[in-house]
Symmetry: C2
Subunit: 243 residues, 2 copies
Amino acid sequence: MNETDFLKDYDPSAFQRPSVAVDLVLLGIRDGRPAVLLLKRDQHPHAGRWALPGGFVGIDESLDAAAARVLREKAGMAHAHLEQLYTFGAVDRDPRMRIISVAYLALLTEQAFEAALRAMPMLLPAAIEVPWAGEVGGPVDALSPENEKLALAFDHAGILATAMRRLRGKLDYSDVAFALLPELFTLRQLQDVHEAILGAGLNKPAFRRRQLDRGWLAPTGAYESGAAFRPAELYRFQPSTAD
Amino acid sequence: MNETDFLKDYDPSAFQRPSVAVDLVLLGIRDGRPAVLLLKRDQHPHAGRWALPGGFVGIDESLDAAAARVLREKAGMAHAHLEQLYTFGAVDRDPRMRIISVAYLALLTEQAFEAALRAMPMLLPAAIEVPWAGEVGGPVDALSPENEKLALAFDHAGILATAMRRLRGKLDYSDVAFALLPELFTLRQLQDVHEAILGAGLNKPAFRRRQLDRGWLAPTGAYESGAAFRPAELYRFQPSTAD
DNA sequence: TTGACATATATTCAGTATAGATATATGTAG
DNA sequence: CTACATATATCTATACTGAATATATGTCAA
């Protein structure tokens, strides 16, 4: 910004500022499908619709800190994989006033997802249905536990679609999948996560090879228990030293 | 955001709002290297340092519209490939006041880059030096025409590094490279753009094959002229119909 | 105690893509 | 007309991928 613009701004009444909020896509895998945690709006506007948890950004609070605070306040969660997704700034996205929303993607393990549901009973777990393949695609649907399409508030359907595109895009060149898994996991669990996000089956031996060759998987020597068949080895995610 | 938070906001004096700005990374290829257009700051803070062109977002202006306006006002340009990059929201990124900046990446053809320099003589073309390979990396440097490292204002060095990471990441699965080329171009020019952005040489026959197999290149039957050797065929970018 | 079973893990093989090297084509310049 | 620089085409060895097959290892039920 240049100085002329800035000087105008020194007078707080010179022009109006938009409000800035963060909205969280709390995403996990549930019953083999991607799922998101939603809150029901009980007030105008969009009363009765389902919304992503969010909150305004404090004047002395960074965006990342605001996202972490919303995670704490709305999902009762101290830590999660949090990454900025996209900033939504259409003028009329909120009919009340100008609100710019910085969307964050929060990735939850299955345990964290269920813990959030217990801690905050007003949260609804909604399965995400992605009706397109690959990474280029239009809207997605959020389904109620009864498998009915949910009406989302504001532009939150668009935010959700952006989250799924981002997640699919990053899946095979980044380590995001591990943010959805517990500390110890089997290769089958890792593949299940990939398949849930991609919405497609994968070739098992090829998947194993690629994952093991990546150098991110540290075998633990321990094995899963309780299965009615040969138990699989448990692995741990080990961030690459080469990075 | 929930209603409690929102009601607080109905009273404009209840809490302060941050200012929201857009900053543009005006990027082109110059002398075979990626280059960015910068403005010298003549006022406190960071007086004498070089900054990305930017401007505040109007209360009735979408983020994309604000970016397009800055492109027009600061670079004298009606159109360019514009995409949102990342939103920077550290509390102390501007010492004067709280300003959240939504960074945009603007891709300019070589002609557009030079036209901007002519239209706005205060713009400085700075070569970008990326001291890392691949897509994961730290800071980058902006070099003056005399090849000296420029001191950038605010967190703009970080924004520039984010832009280069994004560009490298998108290069081979998206069509961004064509935004840096004129309407008609040869395969050699396309490869030059890729090599400039990646900072590395590429195998020529393999590059040609991959590009031609993608289905984005429409041969025109016309050939370049004026070269002291066999002229190459001119191609046109044709967005895939399958997408 | 033993064999059926379901899954993990290992191996193999063919088809495909890729990098790199080499060969050929085609314009300008002297 | 020939040298030359580059475009374009062809070839080959290698790596990767998907799919099929074989073997290992636990639980469970007869």
